[in-house]
Symmetry: C3
Subunit: 212 residues, 3 copies
């Protein structure tokens, strides 16, 4: 049932996604002119906030970053490194460069979050919401900390909704009795595919037209 | 001890109050021009945030909305429905129309939150604070997410303080040995009565006069 | 091993620090023109928010302010008293007057937070982060509630970083097998010393220079 190399692949994707999330925190913190402490904290909140909130809601311990505290060191070094390196070169990663790792993180975290909640015996809808929380709320907390309306709720681009679809794919795969690794792959692929299509074709979410 | 029909009455009030809270989330999200995902999330945060924060603080699981996930579906449908319907008709529920269900929710959630904490053996003051958190922090989280100072802390109208009074009524009723249903009724009625009086006579909370 | 008088000294420092944190909440709430409910809530969030978030992350119950609910009464009276008294006299405590109790709170809470996490068997880095959360996140939550970017992340002054250093001192003292009371004293002294030096000599954290 174990697909050879998948565990390694998951770790690689997880590390890349965590780095992408942390980097998005660094960029937002930089735009808001936070100090070095703020840059590091916002990077950490963005990278680990979604999974932490999920674990608080599910009452799971230890947190991912407590069990794997080397990731905390990694995010710390990444934030400091990015700060020094970008300052020196007036360089910023383009949205294009961030798209792939961010989409992979969205998909992977939505899938693993949903699967963890299903293992915990939660109803399907709640499990999918936990997947979305895992994937999206790091960025939401990032925006709240820097005093902005969360982009996930206001930029009219499909983001959380791709994670939502991927979560349901994980639920369906589980119901079909597929191996967990297969389900993980399928759910991640669906989220990533939807997200890339949404960006490629500039899909928009319906807006609310207020009269005032 | 069981008052016939009270359980049903409580479910009706609970559903009406949850809907009122969700609707206030929809309206705030609309004013901030969030997208459809934002409208749904803010509706859910407003409806379930207070009870969820209370349960995290009390370390209670499962959350209300996990045990009764049909409420999540209801809030989702309400948010989408309100969005479509109000968009089409340029219609918004007036503050007046929201007053009653919102006041009922404030009272009911303050009473049930306090009673849950008392059952958990917490001191009276803490139990009352848990009641206030249940009743008020959905709206507080709503305002934080949409990047505003919480209205409950800044609009100078008695709101949290009505829930505070209702929570103490639940404590007194418990100390007098009244049936839980009676206590619930009394505490809810006190909160609702105070809130309606406060709005009717335009009571104001003392303001801080700063010199600068 | 017990140093006579230390337990009493810790309680005195703890009360002074809690009062200083609460007072900083009162001042920020006043500047934002919150109402009386807002002033009291923000004072409480600032005083107890850091320890509460740490306990949620560590899954510890009861919270400090639940076990010692007299502190809640104290913060309530302090907030109301400060409001009345300052209003009457157009008086505000200077930053200078707040410096010492605030620095003591920073040091004490960083040390006790780190020690609690070490007792719970967490890795050193995580324990130090828990100390920082305890010491700093009351102020962070305060700023988020009143809709400002947290000062701890944006004012370019060493604050969290002093708590970070103090937390590591607690870790080292533990590793050296020192008595817990000695470790507490050393860690608190280091944080306080660094903070006072930082303010005295106007040390600055590196800023991010963005090009746009």
């Amino acid at each position: 049932m174990q697909i050879p190399g998948l565990a390694t692949a998951q770790i690689v994707v997880e590390a890349a996604a965590t780095a992408a999330f942390a980097l998005s925190g660094v960029l937002v913190a930089a735009r808001k002119r936070l100090d070095a402490v703020g840059v590091v904290v916002v990077a950490g909140v963005t990278a680990f906030g979604g999974g932490t909130l999920r674990d608080v809601l599910l009452d799971r311990r230890p947190f991912f970053w407590v069990a794997h505290w080397h990731y905390v060191v990694g995010v710390f070094l990444l934030a400091i490194g990015a700060m020094l390196w970008m300052r020196g070169r007036h360089f910023k990663p383009t949205e294009r460069a961030m798209l792939w790792p961010d989409a992979l993180g969205l998909g992977l975290f939505a899938a693993t979050g949903t699967q963890l909640a299903l293992e915990g015996g939660l109803p399907a809808l709640i499990a999918v919401l936990m997947g979305v929380v895992t994937a999206v709320f790091g960025g939401v907390l990032r925006d709240i900390v820097v005093n902005e309306i969360p982009a996930a709720f206001s930029d009219h681009r499909p983001y959380a909704i791709c994670a939502f679809a991927g979560g349901w794919a994980a639920v369906v795969a589980e119901a079909l009795g597929l191996a967990q690794a297969t389900a993980l792959l399928a759910a991640t692929a669906l989220t990533v595919g939807l997200r890339l299509l949404a960006v490629r074709y500039d899909w928009r979410l319906p807006a609310w037209q207020t009269t005032d």
